[in-house]
């Protein structure tokens, strides 16, 4: 009984961690390549959840709603890049960050006015409502979808960053803007690509969270977004792959804390770990000399 509950909690933690990983990856893409914390990502994730919910509730199949929400989130992210980041690129680090904070407030306000502040619920039907039982442990189809989509997007992101001209262009801009230019890279275009990718991942995370919890509010971005920032810091703020390691760690830690220590302890443990990492290893678990990390462009 005890072992089954533990395994169940670990599975639940991995599901939560998968979502944290995607959002943290969205933060890390902009942080690692441009060196700024895009605070609007939390709310882009929330908008992604609402767009996904709205599409599914209007009869659009999940496999279409997911890319639809991702596309909307990417467009919002690109608008923020053009209006909120690019004109402030040469200002101090805090300025573009404050600009993205302003966008996050606007997005939350937009969501409240459009969908209301009450929780929106989704009733899963058909194959999405299926659960597989292994003794006392169960795994839902939604959880499998969350794992599969997260894994797929992480692999695609890895391939894009490491193996394609776009990825090499992003890394070149991150390392040295002038050198990237004499090699033919257009930094402004790469900044837009980084924001778009970040939006795609945050939008996907939004849809997955919506499916997993079946209920969303315009305020989910703050809680889950802050956890994703903790994941990014624990994994390594300028290393986009740190999120892959830290997401499951934080997810499992959070769920186990709630199961065995009580919900009141949850944030204490998660953010306590973040502070401990900042004190002991400020570059994060995988931060440091990775070739995917970089300073501000």
């Amino acid at each position: 009984m005890g072992v089954s509950i533990f395994i169940q909690q670990v599975l639940n933690g991995l599901t939560l961690g998968a979502v944290y990983t995607l959002i943290a990856l969205a933060f890390s893409l902009v942080m690692g390549i441009l060196g700024i914390l895009n605070l609007a990502i939390s709310e882009i994730f929330m908008i992604g959840a609402f767009i996904g919910f709205s599409l599914i509730m209007s009869g659009v199949p999940v496999w279409l709603a997911l890319p639809g929400a991702m596309a909307v989130a990417a467009v919002i992210s690109m608008v923020i890049a053009r209006i909120g980041y690019e004109p402030l690129r040469n200002a101090s680090h805090i300025t573009p960050m404050l600009s993205t904070l302003g966008f996050s407030m606007i997005l939350q306000n937009f969501a409240t006015n459009t969908w209301g502040s009450d929780p929106m619920q989704l009733t899963l039907e058909g194959w999405l409502d299926t659960r597989f039982h292994f003794g006392l442990v169960s795994l839902s189809v939604v959880q499998i979808v969350v794992f599969a989509v997260t894994l797929g997007l992480c692999v695609l992101t890895a391939l894009l960053i490491q193996r394609t001209d776009i990825g090499r262009g992003l890394r070149a801009v991150a390392e040295n803007r002038d050198v990237s230019r004499i090699l033919g890279v257009r930094p402004r275009r790469m900044i837009l690509v980084a924001f778009a990718l970040s939006g795609l991942l945050a939008g996907a995370a939004g849809v997955l969270v919506g499916l997993h919890y079946s209920v969303i509010t315009p305020y989910i971005g703050v809680d889950i977004g802050l956890k994703a920032i903790a994941v990014m810091i624990v994994g390594g703020a300028t290393n986009i792959w740190g999120a892959l390691l830290a997401g499951p760690i934080i997810g499992i830690l959070e769920v186990l804390t709630v199961a065995y220590g009580g919900a009141a302890m949850r944030d204490f443990i998660v953010y306590g770990m973040m502070i401990a990492i900042l004190l002991v290893r400020p570059q994060g678990l995988l931060g440091g000399s990775s070739k995917t990390s970089g300073g501000r462009v």
């Binding site: 262009g169 390392e175 040295n176 002038d178 230019r181 004499i182 033919g184 000399s289 070739k291 970089g294």
Partner: protein, 235 residues
């Protein structure tokens, strides 16, 4: 004539970096810009490439270049190997070489040329999977030049290619540069080491305080006393 520079002026804020520069480069030539540190050679190279705003005219293959269009200039065959080499230190040697062909559409041909690069510069082949930042200074310079060649430039700008290199490696780098002439590549070379530059250049322009103070055939300048008097400590 592949490049002509007329009345070039570059300012760093209120401070003039280049006061007035005029020179030209003919197709197939190696032209050296020589002068002491701070004379304006690198600023000139960066302005021509499109990394710095400038006043005056830079005419490349009959067309006026607009300032700050490095990407467009590269697409038109104007490649720079910058001072300090400009290696992407977190990427592998192979990734750096691929970045040389970033704008090229013929990727299959690029792969063939990368393999040929490994044959031509054996050290790069041996280190192809290694992180470029771990190469020695000389190896990084070879990588920077090889990377620029993969962009298939018509005019190659080399900014201080011998900076920080041991004499043997400097000689090797200059041997490579003199080979470019045989391949029909035009080279604009900025160097403090005027002896090496004048030995391989066709013509040279002596820079001082952001102006050209002497010019002529490289051999004549090498034999005269003007350079020695102007750059005493640097020759």
């Amino acid at each position: 004539m592949i490049l002509s520079v007329h009345d070039l002026k570059v300012n760093y804020g209120a401070i003039p970096g280049i006061r007035k520069i005029d020179f030209d480069v003919n197709e197939g030539e190696i032209v050296a810009l020589i002068g002491a540190n701070g004379a304006g050679k690198s600023t000139t190279m960066r302005a021509i490439t499109g990394l710095l705003p400038f006043q005056g005219r830079v005419v490349y293959r009959g067309r006026d270049l607009a300032p700050m269009h490095a990407e467009r200039n590269l697409a038109n065959g104007l490649a720079l190997v910058p001072e300090g080499r400009g290696i992407l230190t977190r990427m592998t040697v192979e990734e750096n070489l691929r970045m040389g062909g970033y704008l090229r559409r013929d990727k299959a041909q690029l792969e063939t040329e990368i393999v040929a690069t490994y044959e031509r510069f054996a050290i790069l082949g041996e280190r192809r999977s290694g992180i470029a930042g771990f190469l020695s200074g000389g190896e990084q310079q070879i990588l920077a030049i090889a990377r620029a060649l993969l962009a298939r430039p018509k005019l190659l700008l080399l900014d201080e290619p011998s900076l920080g290199l041991a004499p043997m490696m400097t000689a090797q780098i200059f041997d490579f540069i003199s080979e470019f002439r045989k391949q029909g590549l035009t080279v604009l070379l900025a160097e403090q080491k005027s002896k090496h530059s004048l030995a391989i250049a066709d013509r040279a322009f002596l820079f001082s305080m952001g102006e050209v103070v002497a010019s002529g055939a490289a051999r004549d300048l090498a034999e005269g006393s003007l350079i020695r008097n102007t750059m005493m400590a640097l020759v």
